[in-house]
Amino acid sequence: MSTHGKSLHCQESEDAAAYVLGALDEPEFYRQHLATCTVCQAEVARLQPVVDTLPATVPPQSAPEGLRRRVVSVVRAEAELLRVAGHEADEPPRRGSRWRRPRGAVLAWGALAASVAAVLAIALTAGSSEQTRVTNAQVAVVGAHASLRQVGGHSELLLAGMPQPPRGRIYEIWLSRGAAPQPTDALFGVTRHGSGAVAVPGSLHGVKEVLVTSEPLGGSSHPTSTPLIRVAV
């Protein structure tokens, strides 16, 4: 196949259309190929704008007003947290210092979180039929922040600036009703940018705290490390 009238050819360029449509079974292989193949780069650059128009074919709908309110509520809370904590708090942790957990730093962040909590511990917005409650978390990782969003009977932990779990470990959510924290099946990592949104399984009825610890892959039945995140429910 020629590209733009050039006689250049790459057999892999047959996959360009499926790639831009997100239909390749193993897109990573083609992504790596793209890094070095100018023919395929040109083909993707030609077809991607076409795919980018496809959302315009969707029948328009109005976003629910409750959705806007919930998003704005979380954004305003996080903006305030960022303002109080300083902009460096939102920057990715420096390599080698991500798991800095000296007692002083943890306490300092805990104190900061507590002071900020007075400002934005809970954001309440009235949805069309249900309330959204956003509770700020205490996070023992410098530069990270987390909040618990509760809508109706559903809860979600929102994370930003968290480091990836160390190799061979994974984050686990626990529910504490006063006695020993109970494990959940919520095991998770975060994106390479440190963000994440994780559903908290089950009801929070009677739960006093939602905790997150770092555990071996597969999770644990009892916490094996100090909680990194604590949310008072």
Binding site: V50, T53, S62
Partner: protein
């Protein structure tokens, strides 16, 4: 977007106001359920807020970027749920659900462009339009589509490519395409 990247909540609200409807519409088109579309749109909007610094003006408009985030999350959710047999959530008549006084001039222009693109998609041969829609809105891989349609995978690839080529030809006059 520079202000959003700097943590300006007011600037983000402007972005939200401009693109929330399009984001919700796309999420609903893909997942076919109101509650799921609501969740996906919320997650996507928060992702836009938290990753505003990653927006690259050279790679497209803010709307294209926002909708690519919505698309990725909606398809991920669809694949996770394993529910892959719906997603034709009442294509007809939804336009009429918008109140006339909600339509600004900008929306009217946008809707005209949408009609043009929808028309171009509708003019594709059925088999080409089908593989494009199954891939983009259904989240199916080319192997899955080949299996569903009982068609060789090479044919599926060709239909995707020919369909996109024809769409591109249709839309060549539109300045955003092919530039």
């Amino acid at each position: 977007m520079e202000l959003v990247a700097a943590g300006d909540a007011n600037a983000f609200e402007v972005i939200l106001e401009r693109h929330a409807d399009a984001a919700f519409s796309l999420a609903y088109r893909i997942c076919g359920r109101h509650a799921a579309a609501d969740d996906i749109t919320q997650e996507s909007c928060l992702a836009v807020w938290r990753s505003g610094a990653r927006y690259d003006r050279g790679r497209g408009s803010v709307r294209t970027w926002v909708l690519s985030i919505v698309h990725n999350r909606a398809i991920d959710a669809l694949r996770r749920s394993g529910v892959r047999d719906r997603r034709h959530a009442g294509d007809e008549g939804i336009e009429d659900s918008l109140e006339a006084n909600e339509r600004t001039d900008a929306q009217a222009i946008e809707n005209a462009t949408s009609r043009e693109i929808r028309g171009a998609l509708g003019e594709l041969p059925t088999e080409q339009r089908r593989v494009i829609e199954l891939a983009y809105f259904g989240g199916f891989t080319q192997t899955e589509i080949a299996s569903m349609l009982n068609t060789p995978i090479g044919t599926v690839k060709s239909r995707m490519r020919l369909g996109l080529e024809k769409l591109r030809d249709h839309l060549r006059g539109w300045e955003a395409v092919g530039t």
